[in-house]
Amino acid sequence: MKILLVDDEVELVSAMAERLSLRGIDADWTDSGEKALGMARQCEYDIAVLDMKMPKLNGLELRRQLSVICPPMKFIFLSGHGSVSDFEAGSAEAESYLIKPIRIEDLISKIEEATR
């Protein structure tokens, strides 16, 4: 299983990738939607974990573009926002929606659920 983590908070997304890797989960990360699209061209990711609010390409738009590149890819949204509209939009278009700060165990559980 291979995971793509996308969040414009570099220190957050790099630490998250390191923690997943310590648990034996292969995770790549990037801080921009555009870079994520480039990384996904080979379609080697099973699941993408995307921040909802990012500069230029937000999580929802990035999810749509990633789905075109790699239709089987599953998605989990992360948000620090937590507004009702954000939650409804995110939940409708992804397997899960988590509010930051997250527990790594919750993320892993959602990853397992999504790829089951």
Partner: protein, 213 residues
């Protein structure tokens, strides 16, 4: 208290917008600290199982936590100063300080558009205004200017005294910034005796605050 010039619903919308942006940033600060602390916990558990920890790895995490605490502290300081801008009505306001606070509170908005926002070199200037109204007006002008700009550019705002008042210059090297008297802040500008001028020659936008008695 001297009454402010603005409409209370617009004031509340602006107050809410700034608070939503700042609270979102604070959530990100907590999220980074949470991951960094989790990573230290993971490394400690690994160490207990016999895996050596590289001191550099721990130093890097500690530095990240310290940096995020400074970032969070700055956000809270700015939020507090912003909240207190409603304490009084019109008063003699240091324009450089108020501009600095407005730029800090508007930076995330610019970041989301992938445009840089900076305070330019200011000359000492003051004006008799309600600081909250001034921040709302400046934020409105900055937001409208950002909408006209291309990604990767930088918007610079500076303050200086001028005849019969003070002027804010809004500029971006290599780009002409022109604004109509946008409806979002036109009424407030009018109430504050402020006028916006497009200098088509050099592309610099000027926000002039007329001195009031």
């Amino acid at each position: 208290m001297t009454p402010t010039t603005s409409n209370s619903r617009d004031d509340l919308q602006f107050f809410g917008k700034i608070n939503a942006s700042a609270s979102h940033e604070i959530k990100n600060v907590f999220a980074v600290i949470n991951e960094a602390a989790g990573l230290v916990e993971d490394l400690t558990l690994m160490s207990e199982k016999g895996m050596p920890i590289e001191p550099e790895r721990l130093k890097r995490v500690a530095k990240s936590i310290q940096g995020q605490i400074r970032r969070g502290d700055d956000i809270i300081k700015n939020m507090n100063a912003f909240a207190h801008s409603m304490d009084e009505g019109a008063k003699e306001v240091n324009l450089e300080e108020t501009l600095g606070l407005t730029v800090a509170l508007s930076t995330r908005m610019a970041d989301m558009k992938q445009i840089g926002l900076e305070q330019g070199k200011c000359e000492p200037a003051t004006a008799l205004v309600c600081p909250f109204d001034l921040m709302r007006l400046l934020h409105g002008v900055i937001a409208a200017a950002l909408d006209t700009m291309t990604q990767g550019s930088v918007l610079t705002v500076a303050a200086r005294p001028s005849t019969d008042g003070a002027t804010f210059t809004i500029s971006s090297s290599g780009q002409v910034i022109t604004l109509e008297n946008d409806t979002a802040f036109a009424e407030l500008a009018k109430q504050m005796n402020a006028t916006i001028t497009n200098n088509e020659k050099d592309g610099v936008l000027e926000l002039f605050l007329k001195k009031t008695a």
